[in-house]
């Protein structure tokens, strides 16, 4: 799948930018704050309906403007135009596929698979369990719209149930216990689906991680992701055993007014040669693992979605040593279409360039080609 062009209106520094892309590597070059990362972000928007570095849609609207618009032309077997329009006044996003409006994110995500490697990825290996869950969820959601639907359903249930638990805590209204039972049953049903899907995913994903370690980073070490969920020590989890655990924790949950059992507390432990990466890994091992996860995601999604993902690399080479950067650069060749932001082309002599690559300069939101 190829993104052949993009048109940005009022998107951060881009008041009105039309950019055409190469089918292979696109180097987007510019100083800090000139609008190069916005281009990656706008591509991410087209593929996922969301920004990867802004919390709200309103933040990305250009200063003093009321709306933004992103239009992208994809070519796969057929031509496809994706347009996102956001209006600050309505605080609403509209998503169009070939002029037809699409209403549910589950109908969008995974249709144009995308992988992004950014300096923020350090949080995946070094941050909190929530950072790792977010990574895993973002990979599975693109591969399975059913998982995404289940996840949205589960998260909604969590919020409703937490609200009821805190009402129970304050009012001690025992009449609501029957209602709590219904929310527990819903939580268990949705939670078991999430856990089983994550289990299956980790089993499938580990070989991709191992492969990327060997093929991309050419390292002999042995990486593994270990999934830790509720009920680890016990037998096969089902909705009934989940409900049993909720039963055991009921008083504690009411006392604290929050959900204490479920996949929202899952952890994914990264290991190298059976040693915990987060605790014992060197800086270099951490970086390697982060890069490997993204390449593993790339090949996993390519297989699962049946489409070659778009690869976005945001300011990655500035962060890495020339040795790792060189390996990444050579791996990107013949991979598909990639977008790479750089502050200055001149500093990256190790990059392997080919004739089809394109260099796009961004200066104060204006585009020129080298």
């Amino acid at each position: 799948m190829i993104l052949s062009s993009i048109h940005l209106k009022n998107f951060r520094r881009h008041r009105d930018s039309y950019i055409t892309f190469s089918d292979e590597l696109n180097y987007i070059v510019g100083g800090n704050g000139q609008g190069k990362t916005s281009i990656l972000d706008s591509i991410y928007y087209l593929c996922t309906t969301k920004s990867y570095n802004s919390k709200t849609d309103g933040e990305v609207v250009s200063f003093n403007q009321n709306d933004f618009e992103i239009t992208g032309s994809f070519k796969d077997l057929t031509q496809e135009e994706i347009r996102i329009y956001y209006s600050l006044e309505e605080n609403k996003k509209h998503y169009f596929q070939n002029s037809k409006q699409i209403f549910r994110s589950a109908d969008v995500i995974g249709k144009h698979p995308v992988v992004i490697l950014t300096p923020n990825d350090h949080a995946i290996s070094q941050g909190s369990p929530a950072d790792r869950r977010r990574f895993v969820d973002s990979v599975i959601s693109q591969a399975s719209s059913l998982y995404l639907k289940n996840l949205l359903d589960y998260n909604k249930t969590l919020r409703q149930r937490a609200s009821l638990l805190s009402q129970l805590k304050e009012a001690k209204n025992k009449n609501s216990l029957e209602q709590l039972d219904a929310w527990s049953e819903k939580l268990a049903a949705a939670g078991v689906d999430i856990i089983n899907h994550r289990k299956r995913f980790i089993n499938e994903f580990n070989p991709y991680v191992t492969n990327a370690y060997k093929k991309i980073m050419k390292e002999e070490e042995n990486p593994e992701i270990i999934y830790q969920t509720i009920n680890n020590a016990r037998t096969e989890l089902n909705a009934n055993s989940f409900l049993g655990l909720l039963e055991e924790c009921r008083e504690e949950e009411i006392k604290r007014g929050s959900n204490l059992v479920g996949p929202h507390r899952d952890e994914f432990v990264f290991e190298i040669n059976n040693i915990n990466l987060k605790t014992f890994g060197s800086q270099g091992q951490q970086k390697t693992f982060q890069v490997v996860l993204r390449f593993a995601q790339f090949f996993y999604l390519k297989e699962k979605c049946g489409k070659t993902p778009i690869f976005l690399l945001d300011d990655v080479f500035g962060e890495l040593d020339a040795f790792r950067s060189g390996k990444i650069s050579s791996s990107l060749k013949n991979l598909g279409q990639a977008f790479i932001t750089l502050t200055d082309m001149a500093n990256f002599s190790f990059l392997e360039r080919s004739r089809c690559d394109k260099v796009i300069h961004i200066n104060k939101g204006c585009v020129s080609y080298a």
Binding site: E90, R104, A106, T157, E178, Q179, A182, W183
Partner: protein
């Protein structure tokens, strides 16, 4: 720009309607202002009658002109089967499918602790009361298949099943997260006839 006060007020009121933003409200207000007096008078009359002539059915809480709605009054309906729905609009949707011959109970929403909607806010007590005065054999839960709708169905099933009444839920023919109101008639028809026991 300062708008004339009556125009401002009309825009304000119109934009309170669901799905109507400020811009649409403005367009509608200007349209009404420019249009025939008669059209506005008819609209006002229709709205007034909507509010004064209609009420909720005393038995099933469907929209009604009389004490009981036409469905509750009909001798042709099987009054041993109650289909439980969220809103009166769901009754209209299911009626259009022509697949259902029982009667209804509109509970008026779904459980949502976040919005402060609990069992007491909904017409659930009223539903349980009907089991005492009516001869009910089956309850069909036709709530939207979203997070709150499914939980409300689980809650109702827990309350009703111990009473020895058969509880079914309409089959998952409907799209997940889809509103019953927007599903097409064929889908609803299939869903009602293919219901599953809880």
């Amino acid at each position: 720009m300062q708008l004339a006060e009556p125009l401002q007020a009309a825009i304000e009121e119109l934009s309170k309607l669901p799905g109507i933003g400020k811009k649409t409200a403005q367009r509608l207000a200007l349209f009404l202002l420019k249009g025939e007096n008669e059209n506005v008078a008819n609209l006002l009359k229709a709205l007034h009658e909507l509010k004064t002539k209609l009420r909720l059915c005393a038995r099933c809480f469907n929209i009604s002109e009389e004490e009981l709605c036409p469905i509750c009054q009909s001798a042709k309906r099987d009054d041993s089967v109650i289909c439980v729905v969220e809103e009166a609009s769901d009754v209209i949707a299911i009626e259009k499918s022509n697949e259902y011959y029982g009667i209804y109970h509109v509970i008026g929403g779904v459980l949502s602790p976040l919005s402060g909607i609990g069992p007491d806010t909904l017409k659930i007590k009223e539903l349980l009361k009907r089991f005492e005065s009516e001869n009910i054999k089956e309850i069909i839960l036709a709530l939207n298949p979203d997070t709150e709708g499914e939980t409300t169905a689980l809650y109702l099933a827990k309350l009703i099943k111990p009473l020895g009444i058969k509880v079914t839920r309409i089959a998952r023919g409907l799209p997940i997260g889809g509103d019953l109101e927007f599903a097409d008639e064929a889908t609803i028809g299939r869903a009602v006839s293919g219901r599953i026991e809880l």
